[in-house]
């Protein structure tokens, strides 16, 4: 077996970073799509729909992501769909993110003062127009800092997909550790790479938060 230099370790780890970012991106996009749909349903439809959606949120926020990943991976197989780790990871992380995103955004919409709804209703705006011109623009501003926080959470949580066999940064770290037998160095490096990604996101989020809080 050839020698595995420190440079090889770093290079191989960095090569796997795009997979982590890619998975985070589709999870966020998928989560946003489902989350927005649920948000609109929750605002538009009667209380029963809202109740069902809050159960959905509770289900994803009250169980470990690891179990959700296993259930998706084996559940898809059980209903006869040939799964790949990528497919299970994408589906599960999208659903997981959608629960967190929809709950956060719902909080933002609810925190818009009642008077804004009343005022826009008294201008004879339909519900559609109220949301589009009055509520969503204000809620959007409120929602930016917590959404960035959730993005960081999603990036960190993609590491769990290594357990169902998706090869991203964490899995690559495990494989390299099995070859080099230097867990301190390799996992330290993996942590550093995650830190670089997540900390820049967090810092960006804080900057946005400051920017938006000054405007209010």
């Amino acid at each position: 077996m050839g020698e595995f230099s420190n440079w090889d370790v770093l290079r191989n780890l960095l090569l796997s970073v795009p997979w982590t970012l890619f998975l985070s991106a589709i999870a966020f996009v998928g989560g946003t799509a489902i989350g927005l749909l649920l948000l609109i349903l929750r605002i538009w439809k009667p209380a029963t729909v809202g109740l069902v959606i809050s159960w959905y949120v509770q289900l994803f926020q009250g169980t470990p992501l690891l179990m959700q990943l296993f259930l998706t991976y084996f559940g898809l197989g059980l209903i006869g769909i040939q799964t790949t780790p990528l497919m299970a990871a994408t589906l599960c992380l999208s659903l997981y993110s959608s629960a967190y995103l929809t709950e956060t955004w719902h909080g933002c919409v609810v925190s818009i003062p009642r008077g804004q709804w009343d005022a826009s209703a008294s201008l004879a705006l339909s519900l559609n127009e109220q949301l589009r011109y009055v509520i969503f623009p204000q809620a959007l501003r409120l929602s930016i800092p917590p959404t960035v926080g959730l993005v960081v959470q999603i990036i960190k949580n993609t590491s769990l997909t290594s357990i169902i066999g998706f090869i991203e940064l964490t899995r690559t770290g495990q494989i390299i550790t099995n070859i080099t037998l230097a867990p301190f160095f390799v996992y330290g490096l993996v942590a550093l790479i995650y830190f670089a990604i997540c900390f820049s996101c967090s810092t960006f989020g804080r900057a946005l938060e400051r920017k938006f809080s000054f405007q209010q």
């Binding site: 509770q58 009250g62 259930l71 996992y187 330290g188 995650y194 830190f195």
Partner: protein
């Protein structure tokens, strides 16, 4: 053969109970230690000098911006390789406590910073020592202020104990994988354990929200 078969999985119930026990143990011990660590760090950040502040903020940011599983791998495999060996349960406790400490620090700091200046001055004028001011005057209202956020974090940490299965701590998720491997009933086994986690999460939240105002910081109004 039927598609779903819970019977073979349910036969292994003693293993589930073992796992449940360890999950609860990990949760309780690291919740208590982690919260105390968080409060201490928050105090040191609010009151300490520049070096302490920088050091503790680095600790908080490092733990908040890396995945929990990598922290566990680093503590269990990484530290062992440089001579600091721990068994899986101790490593889990260390990892969970440090992780929760970082988040709790951030949460408690927000609560401590919001203490009105007048309350501290009033306490000082009663000749209370600095630690008394902190422990009796600053901490209880701070905890009351941030309790909902802290409870959410404690529940998140309880769910995160499932990751300890990856370093072979034999808690609920580990037992689920073990039983799944023995019975070839993957979905059923994980479904049961997921339901157990859901119930635990709901109970823990209800319990903590009940316990906090009654035993930790009294019924306060702000």
């Amino acid at each position: 053969m039927s598609k779903f078969d819970f019977s073979s999985v349910l036969d292994a119930w003693p293993l589930f109970i073992d796992g449940l026990w360890l999950t609860c143990l990990l949760t309780i011990v690291s919740s208590v230690l982690g919260t105390m660590l968080g409060i201490l760090c928050a105090w040191a950040i609010v009151q300490g000098n520049k070096t302490t502040k920088l050091l503790l903020i680095s600790y908080v940011e490092i733990f908040r911006n890396t995945p929990f599983i990598i922290q566990m791998f680093f503590i269990y495999f990484g530290l062992a390789s440089i001579g600091l060996r721990m068994d899986a349960i101790s490593a889990s406790l260390v990892g969970l406590t440090l992780n929760l400490g970082a988040y709790a620090c951030e949460i408690c700091r927000a609560g401590l910073v919001a203490t009105p200046r007048g309350q501290i001055e009033a306490a000082e004028s009663l000749a209370l020592a600095r630690w008394q001011v902190f422990l009796y005057v600053m901490v209880p209202p701070a905890l009351a202020r941030v309790w909902p956020a802290l409870v959410s974090q404690l529940v998140i940490m309880m769910l995160a104990t499932s990751v300890c299965s990856q370093i072979s701590a034999e808690e609920l998720s580990y037992e689920a994988s073990f039983i799944a491997g023995n019975t070839f009933r993957n979905f059923e086994s994980f479904a049961i354990v997921t339901a157990a986690y859901l119930i635990l999460a709901i109970l823990e939240r209800k319990l903590l929200l009940w316990v906090g105002p009654r035993f930790l910081f009294g019924r306060m109004k702000f």
